[in-house]
Assembly symmetry: C2
Homo-oligomer: 158 residues x 2
């Protein structure tokens, strides 16, 4: 059972808002348009800075609440992380993540075998599983030898 999807993302977005009794405001449209194709798993602050360029009067607060709202209605996902600022993922198709522990970069991983993992029956019985993902942690290709690593210590969110 899948929602009907047109080829117009904005129309789908508006339909989803209506479905959840959310009003369609210029701010929400701008935020939706901006995050829709992002591959960078942006934080609220990343999004705020981007949106502000085209919509200078928007408040940080609205961006924050809007992204939270979007994640509640399944328009974006909250990305798993290890304690830094919250980050969002517009790609709701099943996929997986690599996290760089040095710079916080998150790289999408598409791996058919991972998609096909079964949920253990005992868990399915106890819990309602909504989402599964393989998370890989490591050091990304922007950090090389030990010497280079040291010089890059301050890099953030690659």
């Amino acid at each position: 059972m899948q929602n009907p999807k047109s080829t117009d993302p904005l129309a789908d977005f508006m339909a989803k808002c209506k479905q959840h009794q959310l009003k369609i405001t210029p701010q929400r449209i701008a935020i939706f348009k901006e995050i829709r194709t992002s591959k960078a798993h942006p934080s609220v602050d990343d999004m705020y800075r981007t949106i502000k360029k085209q919509f200078p009067s928007v408040s940080f607060d609205t961006v924050n609440r809007t992204l939270l709202t979007f994640s509640e209605i399944g328009l974006v996902d909250l990305v798993e992380g290890q304690g830094g600022p919250r980050r969002f993922d517009p790609n709701r198709a099943e996929h997986h993540h690599f996290h760089c522990i040095k710079c916080g970069r998150i790289v999408d991983v598409f791996e058919k075998g991972y998609d096909e993992l079964e949920i253990p029956a005992s868990l399915k019985k106890r819990f309602k599983i909504l989402n599964k993902r393989v998370v890989l942690n490591g050091i990304c290709d922007r950090h090389g030898t030990k010497r280079q690593t040291d010089s890059l210590k301050g890099e953030k969110y690659g």
Copy 2:
């Protein structure tokens, strides 16, 4: 290539500290002893409150820095989460996690099939992979029907 492990966890701990030129202080010992067998994936604050009972003069700060240090030398793991306080996992054997999106509870999942996932060759080439884990999100068995769910809204960290 594995480090020799005795059957004495405290001795192993001290060896690991020496290996990394860390001094063995009463605070570190207390924190190590306390987290060693925790199944609850405690936050810094959880640990601070526990440690303080047996070591009243310890500061929050020391607990925080010690746990961070422990995670750097591989004595505990940082748990993936979605924005709340950082949480730690003393179990460094390969295992997986279920996260309850309603109360933040994290349940260990042991599933042999998950342990055997291969890292895609293309990723192995680009990145140094240090850890892999399957993360399941959903709603745990402490939340039942809609009505019960509402009454449990404030529950935290199961």
